[in-house]
Point group: none
Chain length 194, copies 4
DNA sequence: TCCTAAGCGAGACGGTACGTCTTGTCTTCCA
DNA sequence: TGGAAGACAAGACGTACCGTCTCGCTTAGGA
């Protein structure tokens, strides 16, 4: 019994075990990439028994997802303070700031040594945020709302990946500017407009 | 000996073996998803000996990549006939037509049962095409050319995935229209321009 | 990790696993000869996982040797009761009695479907016994003690093989008589002596 | 067609191929022991195609046996000149002389890196000789003639092995003396006789 | 002298066993 | 007596050989 991946506070020990595993995962992921990590690695890193690991999680994917779940919970909690300013996409700057700080982890999750699972989790987390932040207007012109969301998230990830992998020297503000330009105007050259 | 995954015409038998493996991979990938495929599956499906498989490819990733390499080679060969019409992104319609026909394979490669490797290969193939097709106009307001390319490819993949996974009923032309709208104008409403 | 082929009492489960493997080997060896046995056969016969097998033994030779080691340990333990009667070679009769009962195993180990390893182990086990039982008399006319031992063991094996392979109908006592005659007098005809 | 391992003079080229393989086997056997030799080793050493090897022999055992067959044929041919002196076992001295010269090959065939097949061939070859050389008398006393033969051969091999492996410094004459002593008188101490 | 069948080298191939590695379950022991 | 430790069954991995086979090349021996 003892519930699998629910995060509820069951026990003091259980909480300590989960913390150790999450931290171990972070350390390992930057050291050898997500895909190469084995359950054996995880339990050695966290100094935990094999059956203990499986008592808490169904596998390393579950551990990863549970980590993202915690992350999302935290994000939601601290989101209220962003008052509904009328500027569109105003969350993006915070995003790039944050990503810049955890560049190592991000790269290890999404690079070729990463995992589709991680990528999907990241996309899901971003989608939730964008979905909440993008409720303006309803012009549509045949573009379903979900397409807007996925387009925005996709562009964000494109910039993020290009930035951290190819031009890590850039400042978050510079990348954010490119992002906004692309999302709001696309690549249509400025000459046609104005 | 005899080069691994180069596709050169080495031997009549070798070519037949490789063909059998590539076709087997395609069949299997739609049947159970890329990730779940084992080398054993591949050699049974292609009716090939285990050591023969490893004589040609270093693993299932290598087989996958070699398949994409062949695909790219074919695409390059048949590309010349696209005369340099002045319309931008004119390749996109063909792309969506093609993708619609191979929806099963595409989904199996990129879904959660898919593989980062496949995704990267698809992205690489598209990038090559876009890079060739997008040479118009000079540098623009500090946006590096590669960002244009990645943005375009990313948006294409976003639309492709959303289409095949969520709205498989749409016609290629409809999805193509959305793609062009997003890439050329972003989500900024049309009212501001013109 | 938990010692390889030492036979020590490490764990109840480990002991059961080893027992199952030893018994499986005996069954298989009479069924298809030692050489033809594969590790796969052994683990199927013993209903054991592949990695479990390799956790205990380095290969089928190691399993064989460990079986002989156990056998020797048992023999040593039950040897004390043989009081030092003055009759030479008095162990031989027990040997032939024993061999007659395990004729199948013996043949399967030493025949052309057998193994040099098994033969060497048998020879080693017999040598130990003979070395202990043959301490009478002082050095003799330039014949090193070890030559005596090897000669005795060799002759025993010669008789054993000939008996079980060519004349399985004979009684142990008859073969033992031949053995003693040959070892003690050679083939020189008795007439010359006495 | 073209018979497998018969040695008949089929063709000049065939004979050259077989010679190359036999010589390669001898070189390899002293270099890495019989058991460790692979067909690949043999065909590389003899500079022969894989299919050519299998056109002549069914495997490395067949090659080995065919080598012994040739050896036996040669021995038989040169045996006639040994006139039937009345001395028993007079062939043994020549045996030990010969073995001393080919110590390397012998050790590589019979040691733990050797092969039961080789041992059986050696035993068979020696048995043929002993059977021919041991026709004297018919006292018997219940000892079948074949037991005499096997006893003699076994003792010869025991001495041979012990000599080459443990005391390679001894002269053939010394070992031969021990052999004759053991075969003719056994280990019965001299005191009882005379 | 030319032609043709054979012997041959080269090595791809289908198979099988190997020893290693990882997974998720199940048993034992200890606190 | 409930959870940690780790032995275990299962099975995929990549490697090494095996014996079969299909190729061309060469190389006599008979026409």
């Amino acid at each position: 019994m003892s519930g699998k991946s629910e995060g509820g506070t069951i026990d003091r020990r259980a909480a300590r075990t989960r913390k150790a595993l999450h931290e171990g995962l972070l350390r390992l992921v930057t050291r050898k990439g997500y895909e190469a990590i084995t359950v054996q690695d995880l339990i050695e890193e966290a100094d935990v028994g094999r059956s203990t690991f499986y008592a808490h999680y169904t596998g390393k994917e579950d551990l990863l997802r549970s980590g993202f779940a915690m992350l999302r919970a935290e994000l939601s909690a601290t989101e209220a303070d962003g008052q509904a300013g009328d500027e569109p996409l105003r969350f993006s700057r915070a995003m790039f700031d944050h990503a810049g700080r955890y560049a190592d982890v991000f790269r290890a999750m999404t690079g070729s040594r990463g995992s589709l699972v991680a990528l999907e989790e990241i996309r899901r987390a971003l989608s939730e945020i964008v979905r909440r932040e993008l409720p303006k207007g309803g012009k549509d012109e045949g573009l379903p709302r979900e397409v807007y969301v996925q387009f925005t998230v996709g562009t964000l990830l494109t910039l993020l990946t290009w930035w951290l992998e190819k031009k890590p020297g850039l400042k978050p503000a510079q990348v954010d500017a490119m992002f906004r330009r692309l999302v709001l105007q696309g690549i249509g050259d400025g000459a046609e407009r104005r």
